[in-house]
Symmetry: C2
Subunit: 311 residues, 2 copies
Amino acid sequence: MDQLVERFLKGDRRALARVVTRVENQTDEGREYLRALFPHGGRAHTIGVTGGAGSGKSTLVGALAAEYRRRGKRVGIVAVDPSSPFTYGAILGDRIRMQDLALDEGVFMRSMASRGAIGGLAPTIDDVVAVLDAFGFDFILIETVGAGQDEVEIAGTALTTVLVNNPGTGDDIQALKAGIIEIADVLVVNKADHPGADVLVSQLQALLSLAPAGSRRPPIIKTTAVKGEGMEALAEAIDAHRQELESSGQLEEQRAIDARHQVLGIARAILLERIRVSTSDEELDALVRRVAARDLDPHSAAEALVASVGG
Amino acid sequence: MDQLVERFLKGDRRALARVVTRVENQTDEGREYLRALFPHGGRAHTIGVTGGAGSGKSTLVGALAAEYRRRGKRVGIVAVDPSSPFTYGAILGDRIRMQDLALDEGVFMRSMASRGAIGGLAPTIDDVVAVLDAFGFDFILIETVGAGQDEVEIAGTALTTVLVNNPGTGDDIQALKAGIIEIADVLVVNKADHPGADVLVSQLQALLSLAPAGSRRPPIIKTTAVKGEGMEALAEAIDAHRQELESSGQLEEQRAIDARHQVLGIARAILLERIRVSTSDEELDALVRRVAARDLDPHSAAEALVASVGG
């Protein structure tokens, strides 16, 4: 293990891939690696990219990564979407030379299935991001599936959250309804060549103008990711957000909040895992059915669950 | 204890008040009462009433309760808002004879401080509702504070969720942004005599028209709660929602989902409580600070927390 850590810290990409796999599999060995590597991170700018299905966020992640490469930066990509093209080891949209990214030593990609952890992201995403951070990537792009709670949870993981909006499908309004605009640091209107793009920009501006006085108004950036257009402006908006965090002192505060959130989240996961290990689905279903039938009160049912953990 | 339960089941209001207090205090004795009484419930129509500050939801709850009394129904009221006028044992708005409600044997009111449980409602709200249900109230109105996550959690507790919108303040749009429109079964535009009321109704209609085809469109009811106007239409919309749930078979399904949510929620609360009891705030802060400083990885910190529980 010491040898693999040494190779990792020297920048060996094969060592990186092996460590990521072990961390992702949540083995004890993986956690040992994490323990050893965690102190080496803390410098990367983590960027969550979220948006509805079909918003083009995979293509946008690829195009943004290409922009960072042009700037001489190293980029890690974590895709948390089983339907992401990253999952298949190939990225669509050859116009922006995605294949080049895949061969680029300065880029590392990993796609993870969303494990359906109740209440958001699988805990291992934070862990994989921590490993990429320790490896020395300047930017880590985290692409999340645009449905359910993931968008809200990602805000805890990433320093900057980019919300990708898609004109003309009504998805944009769905996104607003889901409240995720509140967690966006940068708004993107992708497919800027679509006839509805300017309408969507106006709608977003109108919505932002209703925010309480003094609250931050995220910038709106128009992009056409499939052609690589708008990436410079997007990269600059993301940099500006980090500078805002740093100059206001919020960066340290944010990191402390994230750490608390993460530690309590893992503790809860460990405890819930103990319930799962000690209770079968059938036992849980039977308990829940008895409660629904008013044959058992919920506290007694919960105590039975917890008692099965050995409490 | 058997004696108090007996008096409770005979409809003694003083026994009810004593049981509610014990359940609310989360004592072992309170849980014994809950265990004994839980099987007697399951018939009440629980109604969550939520909305922004100043939306007039306390007045609306009072006016709706008065409407149910006119219909000969018995009503329990639980206010989960420290700033609710119910908290002070008196309700504003004498035009609808709130004082009469307070003296009415067919009405029981209890206000509870929101205990700041992470992720939503304090678990005891479900318990107090279960006690009122066992007592035989036909309708139980649950007023929740209109900020944060409470609105989303209330949907698990109540069969019908009423979202109170307030014209002219921008609060309406805030509510939409927070995504709570998705959990509303009935939309109310209160202060219908306000010049902005019709604009708000149009905005809501426009928003609802964007919902995916086939999804339920909640009715929009105009009320002026302070004058008691619109309460008949509101009561009918609430009844219609319950009938929809029953005829579609969703009522039983919803109860099973609620029971699962509640049991797992209590189990999680028991486990997190064990962490809290065994770890001081200072210890937790110290752990979190070490993680933020990259001196300790989050898994080791979480394991230290869990180990303190005796795991």
